[in-house]
Structure formats: structure tokens, C-alpha cells
Symmetry: C2
Subunit: 361 residues, 2 copies
């Protein structure tokens, strides 16, 4: 996708340096951050310089590639295992992270010399990122039939290209519609506590000239009531074998509202987000994040500086689960690189048995 | 209720000066603002120095009393009519506002001299405020049977004493429980865009030593799912004859979640919030407020100053309905000064036929 007219991906490898669009400063400052080691990249994932299922996966893959490039020849595989542990510990809910670490580890462990293992790790990480971009583009094609002219749809958090390497998941059909000349309107929820809808989705849609409007999370119900929403598409952080889906906190509420108002609710996700080893939603670990995310808000002050302001009183305590689980029964379907699937265990299992859409490293 | 151990009401009349707790600076600064004329008081209502059904009503009543005190003898009733128009134009949704203006107007128009009309207006406004405080205390007693030991309840926005003259509506049963030695735990939603839950409810509950925790609006669904919420009580800005209830944006969503999880959902309100002239929710005007409430957040910066920060990008547009309507069928009952009523047209009509609980001026 383009930023100020120039093409960008969210994350890439430049030599042994990982480069990321610094998402915590958007929409106020557009900046590319550089990380020289897998430790630095892991910290950037943990601190949410990069976030979103696919972008976390790609960054984690590149971090493993960094580890492979820097690991001492004598203790190469030990060092790689240790790096995998560091990277896996950054974010517990996102399945893409674990998928990426495993895929790069596997590629490196199959090589018959340290030098070829380093190269295999870089190739695997790069292929993973490009597969992710291609899969998102395929999701866009798969979701295109849902994009009827004049549609007003709702999305939550950011599952656009900033959450992936390119194209995005939930917003991929919107971009596909735009290429096809079909105009749809997107309502973006703010998505407190980190306000990714206000900060990222709004910015991303503005960059792409997609008509859109921001709402407070509290206003979604009122839009459903007034018949203003014809479709909901959200992303996912992990999809269990039975179709239960963990995604950004607040997703479940939107699914409940959509059901009450008979509005179709879709989840867009790439293969790496499906986790057959997790039988259902109750087995998905839910990351609890800092209370400060609820108690403070970051933004641009009137003097132009980026600042946080504390909303609540000095002794206030908050509860901050980062994700919730939407049961499969509330999901009309999964928009995937292989088409739209029903949210059933059989459909998920069949999809995961198919060969990957694009050549894997 | 007490602030730093000293008893306060939210709004009062001191001579011909209206005094209000400045609610836009809470929880960071506790300050009492003074308004010399009804024009100033009307502006304070419009700019939400004071907010909440009962507190708006009391402030509007006192503003009318100010108008009566200052109106020239020659054009007394014209001046009073004009003042009523100014005050009515401040907030379109809150029924308490219209009720208060009418009640003070009526009291003034029955007097047989201008001097006695001025006194009648002051007496009516004062009686209205004190009736409001007494009605809230009665709501607390009415809701007490719902306050089982160990209960974890959810409330939205601020319908505590800051929203009234004293005691509050939705939180009145909590304070009654506290006096009765029953400990309940309150989850307060932030309530974007103005974050009254984070700013006011949290502060109010902290002042009263009620155990509580703040959540982002997006986290409510997840708490319902985990069985963490046993009861919901919210306030109301206007209740139609059929029981449909306008309240702060986001209330409808909580009612839908409560229904899905079989959690009882109650609305606490005083008589002045019921509006028999409005047949159902579709006839309640919904105030649309400035986009800036969504695009910016106010709070305390790290240097201690009160500042706003812009969350969204420079060209972002937002939609900001201030209220939504919860259909009567989702409401288990109304907690009133006369006990708990079912949310049916008959029960509402019967309640409104009864004489007022406390002597009116």
C-alpha cells in the first residue's frame, strides 16, 4: 500500500536490520524504526511498535532470521532455540507469532551447514512475509462478493495492511472493491484502550481514499439499531479448531450486536492464524495488559508534541484484557485466501488440510 | 455525599449565584464554579460543567430562579418566558431540564405580585433540588434488595451523586448497601467519548470507599462472558411512556449483552425523567455532539496541566450521537423512589399517576 503516494510494506528486512513502520506514533508521525538484533525486534513486538496478526508474524520471522545471522557457529542451534524462546514470550495470544518462529526454526534446522542455515532462515522469513502479503490479497478477492455498491460496513481495531505485511485481512476486501470500482463506506470503531481504530484504521483508510468515519466504541449499538451497518468484518489473533475466534477486546460485543440485528459478521484471517492445536476458545490464552493503557490516552497535544494524558484519578485501578473470544456460532464465515468458509470444525479442518496457496520456503 | 470528608451537593443556590461542582476538571481538580446570571448557568449546562439528569434539572431550576430574581418588574413574565427558552435550548435529550423549567415557571406564574413570584421561583427551584436528593435516597432504598453480599455489578457513564443533587440514581442502591454494611463491587465503564465513567464514577466511588475497577467500554462483553457481572444498573435521560429509555451512548449495547447472558438490567430514574408525552423511544430526540469529543481526549499531562490530546489524524471525521435508546423489552425494571416497577406502559402510567413522594413547592 502507499503512504503519501510511496509504496510501503509494514515490516521488511534490510541486510540484518529489521525495519518497521513505528505504529505507536501514527497517525501523527510517520516513521520507520530500525532494529539491529532479534532482542531489539522482540522488544519492538512486545512494546507494540508493530502489532496485528500478520505483521507480528512477519516481524517474528525476521527476528528469527536476525538470530540465525548473528548466532555463533559453535552454539548455533542452542542460540536459535534461545532466540525462539525470547520471541515467543513477547505476545501470548497471537498465533501468527508461534507459527512464524516455528517455520523459520524448521527451515534453519534442515540445513546441512551453519552458513546454509543462516541463509535458509532469511529465505524462510522473507517467504513468510511475502506469503502473508499474497494471502491477504487473496482474502481481498475472496471477500469481494460481499462488497456490494453502497455498502456501509463496520470494522474493529486495525486489521488493515498495517496489521499485516500488505493489504490486510478485514480491510483487504475493501481495497479489492476499490480496485474494482465499487465504493463502500467503512465505520471504524476507536477500539479503546489503545485506540487502534482511531489511530491506525482511520489513517490507513485516509491514505487509501476510502470513505470512512470514526465512532466511539459505545456508538456501535446505536448504528446497528438505525440500520446503518450492513456487514461487519474483523480480523483475528487466533482461531481455534472449532472456529471460536480470539480478536481485539470488543469484538465479541460487536458479534452479539450483529446477531441481534441480523447483520452478517465475518472474520478475515490467514492460514497462520488458525490453530488446530487449540480445540476451542476456552483454551486460548488471553493477554492481560497494563492498567495504564486504560488509565492514560496517547495523542498529539495542541503544541504538536506526542503526550499521554491520564483520564482517571490518581489511585484508579483498571482491568485490561487485550482480547476476547467470539464463539463460532456468531460468525457467518471466515474470509480466507482459499475463499469464504463456514465457521465450523469440519470446514476449518478441511481448509487446513489443503496445500498452502503460495510456495512456502 | 462527601468530598475529602466534607459534605457537598452537586449544585446549589447561594443568594442569586448558582454554584456547581465543575465536573469537567474532575477527577484532577475539585473546584466549585459560580454563575451570576441565568445566561451563565445555561451556558454551564450546555458546556457540561454540570451534567447528569438530576443535576441538569436542578441547575436549570436554579437558572430559572436567577431569571426571576433579575427580571425587570415591568416585563417580568416576558423576561421569564425568554429565559425559559434559553435554558430549554441547552440540551435536547434530558427530560429533567424541561420538567424543571416548567415547574419553576408554573410556581412563578401563580404568584400575585412580581416580588412574590421571585420568591416562589426560588422556593420552587430549591424544593425541586431537594426533592431530587430525597427521591434518589428513596431509589437507593428501593434498589437495596438487589444488593446481595458479594455482588459484582456494572454501571455505565455516571449516574451517581454527581449526576444528581445527591445520592445518584444507578449508584444510590450501592450507597444504600454500604450504609447497610453490604459490600458490593462496581465495574465502571470508561464511557467514551467523554469518559464520565473514568473521570466521574471512578472518582465518586473512590471518595465513598466503594470497591470498584475501571474497564474500557470494549471489555464489558468479556466480563459478561466470564460470568463476572451479576447485575447492571444504569441511569436515564428520558423514559418514554412505553418504557423505552434514552441514556448515554453505549447503554443499549450493555442491555443487549445483559440479555444474552441472562443478567438483570435495571434503569434507575426519578419521576422527572419519565415523559408520558413521548410515546416511545423513536420519538426521543437524540443530541448529536461535536466530533471533537471523539477525536480528542482530555486529561492530566505528566506535567500536571489539564490538556487535550488528539487521537486521530488531522483530517479524521467522527460521528458522535450522545445517547442511544434501550427498548423496554431489554429492561428488567425501573428503580424509582416508589419501588421497582416493571418496564411496561401500564406500570409507568400507574407510577406517574401517584402523588409525588415528597411535598412539592
Amino acid at each position: 500500500m502507499k503512504v503519501n503516494g510511496r509504496p510501503y510494506q509494514t515490516v521488511w528486512l534490510d541486510g540484518s536490520t529489521v525495519k518497521l513502520i513505528e505504529q505507536r506514533k501514527l497517525p501523527h508521525v510517520f516513521e520507520v524504526a530500525s532494529y539491529a538484533t532479534h532482542h531489539e525486534t522482540a522488544r519492538a513486538i512486545q512494546e507494540m511498535v508493530v502489532r496485528g496478526a500478520g505483521a507480528i508474524g512477519a516481524a517474528a520471522g525476521y527476528a528469527m532470521a536476525q538470530a540465525a545471522l548473528h548466532a555463533p557457529e559453535a552454539r548455533f542451534h542452542d542460540a536459535l532455540d534461545k532466540a525462539a524462546g525470547v520471541i515467543r514470550a513477547t505476545r501470548p495470544t497471537a498465533h501468527d507469532l508461534f507459527y512464524a518462529v516455528d517455520r523459520v526454526c524448521r527451515a534453519a534446522s534442515c540445513a546441512n551447514s551453519v552458513e546454509s542455515a543462516r541463509m535458509a532462515a532469511v529465505r524462510a522469513a522473507t517467504a513468510l512475509a511475502q506469503d502473508n502479503a499474497r494471502a491477504c490479497q487473496a482474502m481481498g478477492r475472496a471477500g469481494l462478493p460481499l462488497m456490494t455498491p453502497g455498502l456501509r460496513m463496520l470494522t474493529h481495531c486495525n486489521a488493515g495492511w498495517l496489521a499485516f505485511v500488505d493489504w490486510g485481512s478485514a480491510l483487504a476486501p475493501v481495497y479489492a472493491a476499490q480496485e474494482a470500482g465499487i465504493e463502500v463506506f467503512v465505520y471504524a470503531t476507536e477500539t479503546r484502550p489503545r485506540s487502534q481504530g482511531a489511530k491506525l484504521t482511520e489513517w490507513e483508510l485516509a491514505q487509501a481514499d476510502v470513505p470512512h468515519q470514526l465512532i466511539a466504541d459505545t456508538a456501535a449499538g446505536s448504528l446497528f439499531q438505525r440500520g446503518e451497518i450492513g456487514l461487519v468484518i474483523v480480523g483475528a489473533d487466533r482461531i481455534a479448531a472449532n472456529g471460536d475466534t480470539a480478536n481485539k477486546i470488543g469484538t465479541y460485543t460487536l458479534a452479539v450486536l450483529a446477531r441481534r440485528h441480523n447483520v452478517p459478521f465475518y472474520v478475515a484471517a490467514s492460514r497462520s492464524t488458525f490453530d488446530l492445536a487449540t480445540p476451542d476458545g476456552s483454551a486460548i490464552p488471553i493477554e492481560q495488559r497494563s492498567e495504564d493503557e486504560v488509565l492514560y490516552v496517547w495523542g498529539r497535544a495542541d503544541d504538536g508534541s506526542l503526550q499521554r494524558v491520564r483520564i482517571a484519578g490518581p489511585d484508579a485501578r483498571a482491568l485490561n484484557p487485550a482480547f476476547d473470544v467470539t464463539p463460532a456460532e456468531l460468525i457467518r464465515g471466515f474470509i480466507t485466501d482459499q475463499g469464504i468458509l463456514p465457521a465450523t470444525p469440519d470446514a476449518v479442518a478441511a481448509y487446513m488440510r489443503e496445500p498452502e496457496a503460495s510456495p512456502a520456503a
